[in-house]
Amino acid sequence: MSRPVLEVRDLKKIYGTGEATVHALRGVSLTVQRGDYAAIMGSSGSGKSTLMNILGALDIPSSGTYHLDGVDVSRLSDAQLALARNRLIGFIFQSFNLIPRTSAVANVELPLAYAGVKPKERRRRAMAALDVVGLADRAGHEPNQLSGGQQQRVAVARALVTEPALLLADEPTGNLDSKSTDDVLQVFDDLSTAGRTIVIITHEDEVGARAKRLIRLVDGSIVSDVRQSPLDRPPVGAAAAAAAMARNHGRAAVYSGGRHSQ
């Protein structure tokens, strides 16, 4: 295997000082290989959002190292960080975070604009990305003219348009109904099949079940890390996920029993 896309060692994040100190992350170590599709699950307050922000280079850890595609992110300057966010990471947010009053295709073009791609080339790649998420016919629509699921698919298109090394999704289906959730997850399955590296944060079992790898976070530490399907194969998909869900429920006793090795 080539160098990992993502490698964190003993990551800690501490908020506040003195008695108000909160240990959001208590030494997380994690390696994600190219082509992997990992889901990080945890309840509210488990530190998964903090981890996500650090992985997305939006926040800096209190201690620990973070290598993204071989680059030590903690040593980057502000301008280099902007470049890393632009080139190496595609970020997908729970609340979509599309720029309002701006057409879908313009939203998708935005990272390319910051990367300095020429307008014509930009338009072509943005349309291609919208095509991947099945929204090429909605290119001219503004966010408020799109449904939640469609907005999130535009956001996915925006995340993958720069061909980043890593797609990071923070609760991508948290604000969506089940139909839209299926649409978006199908897009993730397709992307994973196409060889993309995806890290997704969720608290929905249904979402976690479709990933190739399931990481559980409790109180700022990783408590389990399960390989659900082989790294070099397409993800199991919706049907298999349903089956996996049933199996997981059957093994609920194992989970509640404590740690679960890979």
């Binding site: 902007a82 470049l83 966010r85 080139r87 604009a113 910051y114």
Partner: protein, 400 residues
């Protein structure tokens, strides 16, 4: 990322809040228009004053007596006026017009009367020296002065008051109990301030002295220099002759007469007008500053309101420089567009008379006002823009 695209982002940002952008621009518009227009008004009134002074004739000097009460030793007399016409001692003097004036004389014609605000007795040279040409009819002659004929040339206002719709030439009017024959009407003259300079009548010196003022001192002597460049020389020569006539000691610092020179008058007036213009400009500059603070205020609101958007842009990899430029350009566009509209408004406004003054645009004031408005945009927009650029993406994204 090209500048053109940053400008497009900025334009989109501005058009998202059209009313707000328009009101902010209005602040700058008013400031810029006020600066240009008020300076133009100041300049226009200065120009109007200098035009009037020039209308009096820049190559004339006016000698007036400073002595009050008419002590014969200090008053100006007809003899002194005659003495000034001296090709030897005063070669720069072209003509001399002694003037007596009755401050108010009532002119009656067939039952209607009119109080003439300035009734002047003088010699024919006065018409040329004071730049008051005769419109219709003719001026009186030297002979009329010598004979003391009661003829009069009246101003436009007098003609309109006493002779509405009638040709006043050769009509007879009564002034101070004496009959005067109207021989001419003066050309219309631009008025100086409150006083209507067309409300005047000009008659031979001797006739006015006989009828109205008596054979006392002259009110003033108007001396016309041969050439506008000779005004100073003429003034010196006139002073020398008068000093002799009035027996003023060389060491004496004060003279019983005062020589007023149109160009020195012009200088004083110009200085006053400049002070006035500066004052108006300063008041207007304050309103421009207020407009600038309006920009800061609106940009701060915009940055706060769009904190999330800034966070998204940063998460998508927008470098600090691009964010800074975008907001700076938004602020600058507000001020530049406001400034341009302000210039347009000022140019339109300057077509109209403002408080009786025709504004005259000073080209440098346009450059100054627009320059300041751009500087204000950059300066006052810089603070909020820097704030936006400094935001950490995670803080910006969490902002609700």
């Amino acid at each position: 990322m090209s500048l053109f695209e940053v400008i497009r982002f900025a334009l989109r940002g501005l058009s998202a809040n059209k009313l707000r952008s328009a009101l902010t621009m209005l602040g700058i518009l008013i400031g810029v228009a006020a600066v240009i227009l008020l300076v133009a008004v100041g300049n226009g009134s200065a120009k109007a004053i200098s035009d009037r002074i020039e209308a009096l004739g820049t190559n004339t000097i006016t000698v007036m007596s400073t002595g009050r009460g008419g002590s014969s030793s200090t008053s100006l007399t007809k003899e002194m006026a005659d003495a000034l016409v001296d090709p030897e001692l005063a070669p720069a003097v072209k003509s001399v017009s002694p003037v007596v004036s009755a401050s108010s004389a009532t002119m009656t014609y067939e039952g209607s009367d009119h109080s003439v605000s300035s009734f002047v007795g003088t010699t024919p040279a006065w018409f040329a020296a004071s730049s008051t040409p005769v419109g219709t009819g003719s001026a009186f002659t030297e002979d009329d002065v010598d004979q003391g004929r009661r003829v009069v040339v009246i101003g436009q206002t007098v003609a309109e008051e006493l002779f509405p719709g009638i040709d006043p030439i050769d009509k007879q009017v009564t002034v101070g109990g004496a009959l005067f024959t109207i021989v001419g009407v003066l050309q219309e003259k631009s008025s100086t301030g409150q006083q209507d300079s067309n409300d005047t009548a000009v008659a031979p010196l001797t006739a006015v002295q006989q009828v109205l003022t008596g054979y006392g001192a002259l009110s003033s002597i108007i001396v016309e220099a041969a050439d506008p460049d000779d005004v100073d020389a003429a003034q010196d020569q006139v002073a020398t002759i008068l000093d002799q006539k009035l027996a003023v000691a060389d060491s004496s610092s004060s003279t019983p007469y005062r020589i007023q020179n149109a160009s020195s008058l012009l200088e004083t007036q110009t200085e006053t007008a400049d002070t006035f213009t500066t004052l108006l400009g300063a008041v207007a500059a304050i309103s421009l500053l207020v407009g600038g603070i309006g920009i800061t205020n609106i940009m701060l609101v915009t940055v706060t309101e769009r904190t999330r958007e800034i966070g998204i842009r940063k998460a998508l990899g927008a470098p600090r420089r691009v964010i800074l430029t975008q907001f700076l350009i938004e602020a600058s566009l507000l001020s530049v567009m406001g400034g341009a509209l302000g210039v347009a408004a000022a140019l339109i406004g300057s077509q109209f008379e403002i408080v009786g003054v025709k504004p005259v645009i000073v080209p440098s004031s346009i450059g100054y006002a627009v320059g300041v408005s751009i500087a204000i945009g950059l300066f006052f927009g810089g603070l909020p823009a820097a704030r936006a650029a400094r935001l950490r993406p995670i803080d910006a994204l969490r902002y609700e």
